[in-house]
Subunit: 343 residues, 2 copies
């Protein structure tokens, strides 16, 4: 970028991924232990006989969470999930966690305790040790910085850039539920504020609310994969949205992709609420985000092994570079994924 | 804490360190690789033949920096210094860095570039590889999350809790300069706003301004210590203020301390500006913070070796548990350090 020409490029015009790419320098690392740089779920650091994986996340009030409908305990839980999900997405196991909190004076000690209750709960569930952290004052909103440290044998690490044409595109769980859960919470909040409705009506939508407030990582499925001897050629955790994360893998792997409309797993509650909102359920499924499911590719020759795993769904396949990334409708029509409302 | 009794304990009443202590659970770690938990400069993780050190920091606009007098490049530089300083304070060497930025839409791409210029500059100077990070939107101020990963041989690691009575208290550099630099910038800013002074007058105070805007870590002195075969019994980097950080080491080591008023190194510019402000120069020196100098203790028998190092100053000694932590004036009078205006 020529600085003299334009000193004020708005970030929105640039886009997040392009910005990261723009500021990332492709220099050779100085330290022998540095294996990979910016670009994957977690950084890989050579620590002797195994690899350390380190990932860090920043959660900001009003962007990543809204305290109006996020109980503090759930917020703490979710912050841990977000950080360790990156380690699992490299096919590693998280072991340590560091948490930094920026809290304004409007918070009480008991509220900070609640956040930590959620943090410790997630740490226990996923066998992670909280080893560091700090609290600091904040003049603005609540800020949470989470760093996860994990471990993997070198040969087991799965990156985002390893997919090849014809690889099967597989997913765990279902998509769009967390996003629709948030839409429901938002709708009920508005009713509460505007029409003084005393109690939000969330009945019949317990699953999608749970997916929004207390997401879990499909660890047992990752274990099944290992036990079945299936090593994915690429993997990413779906946090930005299935479409965005799939396109990210395509870009890094140098492939196109083709997924099938009828194969994308969507829960009944997600579909039902999407209909209430007059939205095609595929829109939250592709673009919603915060699913914390795994998206991975496996070589075509493993199709039988993968098909045997009930908890894994094959939703499509990778295509060669230069081909488009499309979604195939039930009638055989193909639509570009990027034009499906994804930005 | 009995929650039913009091659900709203203000955080200010509690204090930062008590809060961290309060929320920290003293459970046995789940993972073998977890060596220490919360409490030191960095977490220690056993990674086979050497130890990984991980530290994380959160920098919030309005709390840790003010964009009015912090150029963005300096801010990026300082964020790196803050994070890697924790690794050096464990007697380790930083090797990798992860940075997360929370930026509001008022920022331009060029401004983000400036922050990263500073980050890369510090990375180069201290031989650290930038291996990860993310940018995210922020509704409020600029937020920077920095995680540093370092390495040390097990036997070389120096913790905060290893000081023993009679150990010599040593420091690098001088104290209070960064704080007085900030006071000067703040004064000139007010003049600029209120009295429309066109250009701030910082002449004669270049050193303390530099200490505020572009701090450095005394790496060469740490190297000298290693070469002289001096392994400190405890060490901490002085970021919260000499008094606070010394008392922290005392508390964790179970000692008292005695330092000498005339021995605390204070630069001429710091003293001169303190006088202009009608403040005892010892106040910023003890309580200012952001010095990024090292405070460490060595066993008394190493007094000759330490005295030979010109860049290390001995400012006092540790005392046995139960004794007070005091500063001794030139006339022999002893004052409790905590009563010196430190909060």
């Amino acid at each position: 970028m020529d600085k003299s020409e334009n000193r004020n490029t708005p970030i929105n015009e640039f886009g997040k991924f392009r910005l990261i790419e723009h500021i990332t320098r492709k220099e050779n690392p100085v330290n022998q232990s540095t294996v990979t740089g910016i670009g994957d779920d977690a950084a890989i650091i050579d620590s002797g006989h195994s690899m350390s994986l380190v990932s860090t996340d920043l959660l900001l009030e009003g962007i990543h969470f809204n305290l109006i409908y996020t109980p503090l305990k759930h917020l703490g839980y979710k912050a841990v999930i977000r950080a360790i999900s990156d380690i699992y997405a490299m096919n590693g196991d998280p072991e340590q966690l560091l948490v930094s909190l920026g809290i304004s004076s409007r918070f009480s000690v008991e509220q900070v305790e609640e956040i930590y209750e959620g943090i410790y709960l997630a740490c226990e569930k996923y066998s992670v040790d909280l080893v560091g952290g700090d609290t600091t004052s904040s003049l603005t909103g609540l800020t949470i910085g989470v760093t996860a440290v994990g471990r993997a044998e070198k040969e087991n690490i799965v990156r985002r850039d390893g997919a090849r044409p014809n690889d099967l595109i597989c997913v765990t769980g279902d998509f769009g539920a967390a996003f629709m859960g948030l839409q429901l919470l938002e709708r009920e909040r508005k009713l509460f504020v505007k029409e003084k409705v005393a109690q939000p009506d969330l009945s019949g939508y317990e699953y999608i609310i749970g997916r929004q407030l207390k997401p879990e990582i499909p660890v047992s499925i990752l274990r099944e994969l290992r036990e079945a001897g299936i090593k994915p050629s690429s993997m990413i955790d779906v946090t930005d949205g299935l479409a965005s994360d799939l396109l990210h893998v395509c870009k890094l792997s140098g492939t196109g992709c083709r997924i099938f409309y009828s194969k994308v797993p969507i829960d009944y509650e997600t579909s039902k609420l999407a209909e209430e909102f007059n939205v095609d359920p595929m829109t939250p499924a592709l673009n919603g985000g915060e699913d914390y499911e795994m998206l991975f590719t496996v070589p075509l020759e493993l199709i039988e092994k993968v098909s045997n795993l009930k908890s894994v769904k094959i939703i499509g396949h990778m295509t060669s570079e230069g081909t488009s990334s499309s979604i195939v409708g039930d009638d055989g029509s193909e639509v570009d994924i990027t034009s499906m409302g994804w930005k």
